[in-house]
């Protein structure tokens, strides 16, 4: 036993006492060799992956709480000695980050609300309302799902700026309002609803609007939440279009403002301020994700596995 110990490595030393002395038994599910194997090939990579993902985010939060002196130093400072929110205050002074946050919130709330409503109404129409060439129209929507809008930046810029949409909320929101993703996801869900419910409502003489609001929407809660959450996250993170269509801090969204901050702050002492900005754009989504990840993961991976 004492010979076998070092070979098993230090991982075995954390095991409970009763599992330490069973090296001679045939390998059962909790045998020493199995436990070591599970640790090395299971828990170790799991822990490693989790740390690789989590540590940069923790580093970001710590960085935002540090003073510039703790960044610009020969020795690495792991934890801020006097954690404070000075960096956030400076971010507010230099690029009025509160304003950027508000702009992002306005664009996200207005844009997502309209998109979700459009997704519900058009998915309902595609499933329950009779219309010629409905299938062709839906394929048109579906193909739009694969067409990247950023590939066509110039034409949208020319159109929106020509209409006076530079540095306006509507200029940021309007081009992204057409929703292929939400329509697709909700249509799939509506098709799976039991037809009896709709027939019953139809026989009762309920109008399409009533059927949509009183029957279809109430029983589609989880899917609508999924569409709403994915839409909110996408709107909040949206970058290339707001970057192109705004050049004034009064209308910039957070990601665009942070780009400006990175451009004007070349010095290493600016990192706390930059990390404060990163926290403001990342943490709200992280909180939503932590609370409702079931819906978000489902929405983003839908259709992948048949």
């Amino acid at each position: 036993m004492s010979v076998a110990m070092p070979a098993a490595g230090s991982l075995g030393e954390n095991l409970p006492e009763n599992e330490r002395n069973d090296a001679n038994r045939p390998p059962g599910p909790l045998s020493r060799s199995n436990v070591v194997a599970t640790l090395v090939t299971g828990y170790l990579p799991l822990l490693l992956a989790t740390l690789i993902i989590a540590l940069p985010l923790i580093w970001m939060v710590l960085g935002s709480l540090k003073s510039p002196d703790e960044i610009v130093t020969q020795d690495l400072v792991l934890l801020p000695k006097h954690p404070d929110l000075d960096a956030y205050g400076q971010a507010a002074e230099r690029i009025s980050i509160g304003r950027l946050f508000l702009n992002s919130a306005i664009v996200t709330v207005v844009g997502s609300t309209i998109k979700v409503i459009l997704a519900i109404t058009s998915a309902y129409a595609f499933v329950f309302v009779r219309f010629p060439f409905k299938r062709v129209l839906f394929v048109g929507v579906l193909v739009a799902l694969m067409v990247p809008p950023q590939v066509a930046l110039v034409p949208n810029y020319v159109l929106i700026s020509g209409l006076g949409g530079v540095n306006t909320y509507w200029g940021i929101i309007l081009p992204g309002l057409g929703t292929a993703f939400g329509t697709f996801l909700l249509r799939q869900h509506f098709l799976s609803l039991p037809t009896e419910i709709m027939e019953a409502a139809e026989i009762d003489g309920a109008s399409h609007f009533k059927r949509m609001m009183r029957v279809v929407v109430p029983i589609s809660g989880p899917t609508i939440v999924t569409v709403a959450l994915v839409t909110i996250v996408n709107e909040w993170n949206d970058y290339i279009w707001p970057l192109v269509i705004t050049n004034d801090e009064s209308r910039m969204t957070l990601p665009v403002g942070l780009t400006l901050l990175r451009n004007i702050e070349g010095d290493a002492s600016a990192y706390p301020v930059l990390m404060a900005g990163a926290v403001m754009v990342i943490v709200p989504v992280l909180v939503i994700f932590a609370a409702l990840q079931r819906f978000i993961v489902a929405g983003l991976t839908q259709g992948a596995v048949k």
């Binding site: 992956a49 129409a125 309302v129 694969m146 066509a152 057409g178 929703t179 993170n237 990163a278 990342i282």
Partner: protein, 317 residues
């Protein structure tokens, strides 16, 4: 029901043909639905046409112009922009960067994602939390993530450099050497997207029939052998799905490149070139439209390839 209303042949509807009859023509009641459809679906359809389809067409037209963004005048130059792109040695670099970035990010996130999925598929404690954690970066702002990694990679004050110095090395010049900048952006992109591949692979693994795994186990196959000969072939539709979706998103990568390497020194992919040409100070709208059209053509080919493979739903052994 209702079949006789539209039955123009006068032949009484016989059982099997009934469903077909129902599709023919529209009744008066059907027609009452038409305006409702338009009210409900038209806004979305018009928005998609105006801001997704129209720009694609317009872009092709713009790509034939010698035109400065903001200028009222443009000169039609036919395929001049394309000729310039394909003869300019810089473009070769752009294509090479695009290829390296795409292959490395797709390969990296898929291989790591598959490895991660096999771990997450085991009955380990805390795997639900781990699954959520590794997926999280996928939904976070690319700009925020990019800033965090700029801070980490900073050769002077970054934590990575500090760790390397502690181990007796020095920090590479991530931001000054074009090749290293590309490596850096690839690392961060893979970090951000591996969780997506892992979760998709995991879902597919959990759909592998248990009896197949039991059969392999009874036949005495090792767990590696089972994975290689049973699980992996069954995952091939998922692999194809991921291969093409991640390829499409890698080709459109923008946020990380823009925030980490604003000048695009060594990191100018087709997507970033299209942006830089129009909005990076040159204002070359026509040339940018040509680059965007080339990128779009590549994306289109990939989508068609994807659709034709999904259509076949094959398993590759």
């Amino acid at each position: 029901m209702g079949a006789t209303v539209t039955d123009r042949t006068g032949v009484p509807a016989a059982g099997p043909t009934k469903p077909k009859r129902l599709r023919r023509g529209f009744t008066a009641r059907d027609r009452r639905d038409f305006p409702i459809f338009l009210i409900l679906a038209l806004p979305n359809i018009l928005l998609i046409m105006a801001f997704i389809y129209r720009p694609l067409i317009t872009n092709i037209y713009y790509s034939t112009l010698n035109w400065t963004l903001g200028s009222k005048y443009a000169t039609p130059i036919g395929l001049g922009n394309y000729r310039e792109f394909f003869t300019d040695p810089d473009s070769l670099g752009v294509l090479k960067t695009t290829a390296i970035f795409t292959v490395a990010t797709v390969g990296g996130s898929m291989v790591l994602g598959l490895m991660l999925a096999t771990v997450l598929n085991r009955p380990l404690r805390g795997r639900t939390l781990a699954r959520a954690t590794v997926f999280a970066p996928y939904v976070l702002s690319g700009v925020g993530i990019g800033l965090v990694w700029v801070f980490i990679f900073d050769p002077v004050v970054g934590v990575l450099g500090a760790v390397l110095r502690a181990m007796g090395g020095t920090s590479p010049e991530w931001f000054n050497k074009p090749g290293l900048s590309l490596v850096m952006v690839i690392i961060v992109y893979v970090w951000k997207n591996t969780g997506y591949c892992a979760v998709i692979y995991l879902a597919a693994m959990q759909a592998v029939p248990k009896d197949l795994l039991e059969a392999a186990s009874i036949d005495g196959a090792s767990s590696f052998r089972t994975f290689r000969s049973v699980v992996l072939p069954l995952l091939s539709p998922t692999t194809f799905f991921l291969l093409l979706t991640t390829m499409l998103s890698s080709l459109q990568a923008f946020d990380l490149i823009r925030i980490m390497t604003p000048l695009g020194n060594g990191t100018t992919t087709l997507m970033y070139d299209a942006y830089l040409q129009a909005f990076g100070g040159y204002n070359r709208a026509g040339y940018s439209a040509a680059v965007a059209t080339i990128l779009f053509a590549i994306l289109l080919v990939m989508t068609v390839v994807q659709l034709s493979f999904i259509e076949r739903k094959v398993h590759y052994a």
